[in-house]
Symmetry: C2
Subunit: 279 residues, 2 copies
């Protein structure tokens, strides 16, 4: 039998109600959630009109979600919650390359490419040579690693955002390392772009005096048998949004060199080694 | 310029981004929300698959919302959050009648009734005489107070849930107190009923080993010029769900007598005085 509700005893009133057969992890997560949400309401003396605004905000956020748009993930992103969960879920030993959020634009089963191929199929943008190695924590090359890469085009859009404009698989590809663990491919120097900001999350960003831009980045998912999967980006360090990524994806260790290149086919060169930890 | 993201510095990474022109209250509320949400994720070491489940849950909760159904309010209710916000927003001096949640079934502009009228228009259920007075904190009667009442019918449904079955305004009415501050009307002894449990919130309740029932109650909104509005319920004390209200609406002081009546037109009698605090 639970106690009747009191403001002071609000957390216990709720958490004590959880049944004895409840999954232990669910019980733990929900109890903590209730505890922290109630602490938040008490901390700010949350008023009913503010609660009503929150209900309306969540409802609008739900209504705009579709197969093509996930506004709740966007909300999680701009509150730094996605990056936090990524960090908690992907703690790695010192020396291993850090992860960052997957983002909404990954597409599975991109075409396999040979090292040295060009993934920029529309030929627009500033050509960039991406090179480096996939290594273990001891600096040994990892052969047979799959490198899945994707970026926006020179206009700041991924191919899936412009199916009628961009060639399918523009700026995407799968590469497999050989014995020396190295990789190289041509693409473009990525450009910054805004997250979708015409919905409730965009309105919230504006009210908070925040812009919706992500600094330019190249996405990588690096995997190899026996190693932890690494989903990360490399960032263009001189991007105007490098210190104000709308989704907090930037980590200091992921800011990569983008340097003028001597290569005849590239204006830029971005060398970056990926270090995987054992699974 | 904000710091790049780190797990340890996650809260500051987000809150430091709020612009200088931001409304001070919004800034305070959002900073506290971010702080408590991040503390929650860290507290339970929230994993990415759990985060994905939460995103899916919120999306489904949004999708089921309609003009007739507000699943986010239901979610707030079953987490005790609605009652907490009600308590924070409606702190009253000792001696004033306590508030509880409005619930989804209030309808404005119910018909005005004379004292002694019967609001049970379908004539089903156990007749009950509701009587009492509206008083100030010194025990003086408040004349001209409006008492807006609503309850379910004997089958556990409000008229608005069964527009084709129940007479319009069944078990609803507006009463105005005279010089002695007293009120009296006939209705039925209310019955317990489940909140809508065929959506995501109902599934969550089930996973938590909780039932969806609310103990039987009569809704009152008591208002008078110069006094704080009082939205509350009175509860049937011997209801089987009195100590396990799915939405935590029960407060000890709101459990009302429902006693056998000597009145020829009623089986039960429920005397209850409402004490209003000055605005």
């Amino acid at each position: 039998m639970s106690e009747h509700f009191t403001e002071a005893g609000s957390v216990d009133a709720v958490t004590s109600r959880t049944g004895p057969e409840t999954d232990a992890r669910l019980s733990r997560v929900m109890s903590s959630l209730v505890s922290h949400l109630h602490a938040f309401a008490k901390d700010v003396d949350l008023q009913q009109n503010e609660w009503s605004m929150a209900i309306e905000f969540l409802t609008k956020t739900g209504k705009i979600c579709s197969d093509e748009r996930q506004e709740f993930i966007l909300l999680s992103d701009i509150l730094g919650f996605s990056m936090l969960v990524d960090a908690i879920s992907n703690r790695r030993p010192k020396g291993a390359t850090e992860s960052t959020v997957v983002g909404p634009f990954h597409v599975a089963n991109a075409p396999k490419r040979a090292m040295g191929d060009n993934i920029s199929l529309d030929g627009v943008g500033e050509p960039c040579l991406f090179t480096g190695r996939v290594l273990d924590l001891d600096g040994n090359p990892i052969a047979g690693a799959t490198i899945d890469v994707w970026s926006d085009n020179a206009d700041g859009f991924y191919d899936v955002q412009q199916p009628d404009v961009q060639p399918k698989w523009n700026n995407r590809g799968l590469f497999t390392t050989g014995e020396d663990g190295s990789y190289s491919f041509y693409g473009i120097k990525p450009v910054s772009y805004p997250i979708p900001d015409d919905g409730p999350v965009g309105k919230l960003l504006a009210k908070l005096g925040r812009h919706p831009y992500r600094p330019a980045h190249m996405h990588y998912n690096v995997s190899a048998p026996g190693y932890n999967n690494l989903c990360t980006h490399t960032f263009v360090g001189d991007d105007e949004y490098i210190s104000s990524d709308a989704v907090f994806g930037v980590k200091t260790s992921l800011v990569a060199p983008f340097e003028p290149s001597d290569d005849v086919d590239a204006k830029w060169e971005s060398p970056f080694d990926f270090v995987l930890a054992k699974a």
